[in-house]
């Protein structure tokens, strides 16, 4: 079964850039890319679609990324769900908090597209061409 990735980010241009970053996974590994514009929507999509990987912005309306993260981690069914947290540059202090909330990885905006793609591929056990990075 092809994997699903959820991108939860309220800013549409960042969301779109993340989608474009992960296009490689869509094209080559038939990964389905889902999107959510706020925390609540993200939580609903996670419940319905069981994405393998969630890229979660921390500062989102309705429910922030930490809270979404905690709610996912409360449910055993989502033990395998991998989470990457996304935050604005200069708030690296949030890193520990994010990892405590149950995220696997943590990246800052503006993100390095190559790094995000590599992280996503690694967390979903998918190969990248030439084993880049």
């Amino acid at each position: 079964m092809p994997h699903k990735v959820l991108i939860a980010e309220d800013e549409i241009h960042i969301r779109s850039l993340l989608e474009q970053t992960l296009e490689y996974l869509e094209d080559v590994h038939s990964v389905t890319i889902l999107t959510a514009a706020n925390g609540l929507e993200a939580l609903e999509i996670i419940q319905q679609e069981h994405p393998r990987l969630v890229i979660l912005d921390i500062m989102m309306p309705q429910m922030n990324g930490y809270e979404v993260c905690r709610r996912i981690r409360e449910q055993k069914a989502f033990d395998d769900t991998r989470i990457i947290l996304l935050t604005a540059k200069g708030q690296e202090a949030d890193r520990k908090k994010g990892l405590c909330a149950g995220a696997q990885e943590y990246i800052t905006k503006p993100f390095d597209p190559d790094e995000v793609l590599a992280l996503a591929a690694r967390l979903m056990d998918l190969p990248l061409p030439g084993g880049a990075l």
Binding site: H13, T21, P110, F111, D112, P113, D114
Partner: protein
């Protein structure tokens, strides 16, 4: 292979959604499809036949989907005879063409933004890695490290640095198949000179065709040159190269994006390099100052010349032995910074002697020479008056004055002299009570008061150095210096600390300070040979004063340690001499 053209911009999921809405504007039984330029279906809606491309025009309407006058595929709408099929079909095709164009544009903008993100990330990482290096060598290796991390299609690379005194360029580091000897001539080419002086960097993918290149280094096919500059100074250059014919595909070795990345890296490296150069300069001045200070202290007394320098080197070697040792000090590891700290503690440990009176410091006899001459006058006067021989007595007294240890019969001799009146009935004895006290010093030549004076020096060192802000680099240096005369059994000074209260570094300094003192002439005793000096250290250790493990470690390696230190010192002397 990644998806191209239509499929990339008109995604399956979107088309399915789009068709379901579009079909609502058409009568029932209509179908829609998007075909690629070969006519294969990408997506369809409604009762679409398997091969809509082969349908004749009267059965299905075909509208081209073009982008910049290039046809990427078709929109097919049918059956053509249904009402509205033509009108709606044309509108739907128009809409999809617009969407295609806008999606393409969005993608291009997105790609551009992502490239900016890549650049920013590159700068961020490069600056992080480069600024962590406070030494020039580290900056250069970090720079080449970044180049390798970015996987440029270069066969090799190198960094040229300008010799600060001349105008020559030297190769600092290089990687790749060519040896520095082969690469050296690059710096003599006109290409190198011109790029360094006139541009921010350049790529030459076909060196054979460049008039500024005269095949200075054979085998080179392509080169990327990025200068390292600080404000207006040219410090050197980063060079990446590709070998001739190594590129089977006849593709350019370097792209403008490569140059852009290299420029980013070299500008970050340039800043880090000037920082490192400043830091090294300051470090150099500081250590020269500390060495001069130590030399000045040692110079007050001819017996201690070079003592601080030697103790510093001994302490450093002993600390390195502790690092390497798995028997006594398995868990102790001194960092490079901690080793530097021990070295400088050794260098400065006796600075406090600047506050000790010179006559005490350089005292070579129990009584000073002038004082002895006066006693000699008294004795000769007594001899003339009494008619008794006095020269032999004076000779004996002078011998006592220089002796390290006082013999019991000497004590009686001195006592007698104190009772000897220079002339009968005169209230003047050959020796005064104060002189007797000074001659009675049982060991060495210092009186108790003079010892107190000498013993002030660790505290004095501490007091003098306290105002130097060592704290960041050398947090323990003051404590090490203050404690270098403490002894494990608590018999040391100034605080009388014992055992583990004394820092290991201080114990190291104590052992090597004693050792070096034994190995050199003192005013009251001769230098001991290596073996005897070690014996004294062992005695001190058995009395529980010096750290036994350290004494043992030093004893095991003393031959090589001492040899290397003495040759280091000779080297220092010869360098001094040349300057």
């Amino acid at each position: 292979m990644s998806v191209k053209g239509l499929e990339k911009y008109l995604r399956q999921a979107f088309l399915a959604d789009f068709f379901s809405h579009a079909l609502e504007t058409l009568p029932a039984g209509c179908f829609l499809a998007v075909l690629d330029e070969q006519g294969a279906i990408l997506s369809s809606g409604g009762p679409c036949p398997d091969d809509p491309n082969s349908l004749p025009a009267e059965h299905a309407l075909r509208f081209p989907l073009s982008l910049h006058n290039e046809v990427l595929g078709y929109v097919v709408c049918g059956p053509a005879n249904k009402p509205l099929a033509s009108v709606s079909g044309r509108f739907i095709a128009f809409s999809l063409k617009e969407i295609l164009q806008r999606e393409t544009l969005r993608h291009k903008l997105g790609e551009e933004t992502l490239n900016q993100f890549r650049d920013q990330a590159l700068i961020r990482k490069a600056i992080e890695n480069l600024n962590h290096s406070m030494r020039l060598g580290d900056v250069i290796s970090a720079l080449l490290g970044e180049c390798r991390r970015l996987r440029f299609s270069a066969d090799g690379g190198l960094v040229f640095l300008k010799d600060p005194k001349g105008s020559e360029y030297d190769i600092n580091v290089a990687f790749g198949p060519l040896s520095p000897k082969d690469l050296m001539p690059i710096s003599q080419s006109r290409l190198f000179e011109e790029i360094l002086h006139n541009s921010d960097g350049e790529i030459v993918n076909d060196l054979d065709r460049d008039s500024r290149w005269r095949n200075e280094t054979l085998l080179l096919g392509a080169m990327l040159l990025s200068p390292l500059r600080s404000s207006s100074n040219i410090m050197g250059a980063l060079v990446l190269y590709g070998l001739k014919n190594s590129n089977q595909e006849e593709r350019d070795t370097f792209s403008s994006a490569d140059l852009k990345k290299c420029t980013t890296l070299t500008s970050a490296a340039s800043t880090a390099m000037s920082n490192a150069a400043h830091f090294e300069q300051i470090h150099h001045i500081l250590s020269a100052l500390m060495e001069s200070m130590a030399t000045a202290i040692d110079a007050r007394d001819r017996c201690t010349a070079g003592h601080s320098q030697r103790v510093a080197l001994y302490a450093l070697r002993l600390a390195e032995l502790v690092n390497a040792d798995e028997e006594f000090f398995k868990d102790v590891v001194f960092s490079n910074q901690a080793l530097d700290e021990i070295y400088y503690a050794g260098l400065l440990h006796d600075v406090g002697k600047i506050g000790v009176r010179e006559d005490v410091l350089a005292k070579s006899t129990r009584l000073p020479r002038l004082h002895m001459e006066i006693i000699g006058l008294r004795l000769s006067l007594w001899g003339q008056i009494s008619g008794k021989p006095w020269q032999e007595m004076l000779a004996r007294l002078e011998k006592i004055n220089k002796a390290y240890e006082l013999q019991p019969e000497d004590e009686n001799f001195i006592k007698n002299l104190c009772q000897l009146q220079v002339a009968p009935g005169m209230d003047l004895t050959v020796l005064s009570l104060d002189e007797r006290r000074q001659l009675f010093t049982p060991r060495g030549n210092l009186t108790a008061a003079e010892w107190r004076e000498i013993r002030r020096h660790p505290t004095e060192s501490y007091r003098i150095l306290r105002n130097i802000p060592f704290n960041y680099y050398f947090p323990n240096i003051l404590q090490i210096i203050l404690e270098h005369h403490e002894r494990l059994d608590g018999s040391g000074y100034p605080l009388g600390l014992s055992g583990k209260e004394i820092l290991l570094q201080s114990r190291i300094l104590a052992v090597v300070d004693v050792y070096d003192s034994l190995r050199r002439d003192r005013h009251y005793k001769k230098a001991k040979p290596q073996g005897e000096a070690l014996l004294v250290l062992h005695e001190e250790m058995e009395m529980g004063r010096l750290d036994g493990c350290l004494v043992e470690l030093l004893s095991r390696h003393i031959a090589s340690v001492e040899h290397s230190i003495l040759s280091d010192m000779d080297l220092l002397v010869s360098v001094d001499h040349l300057q």
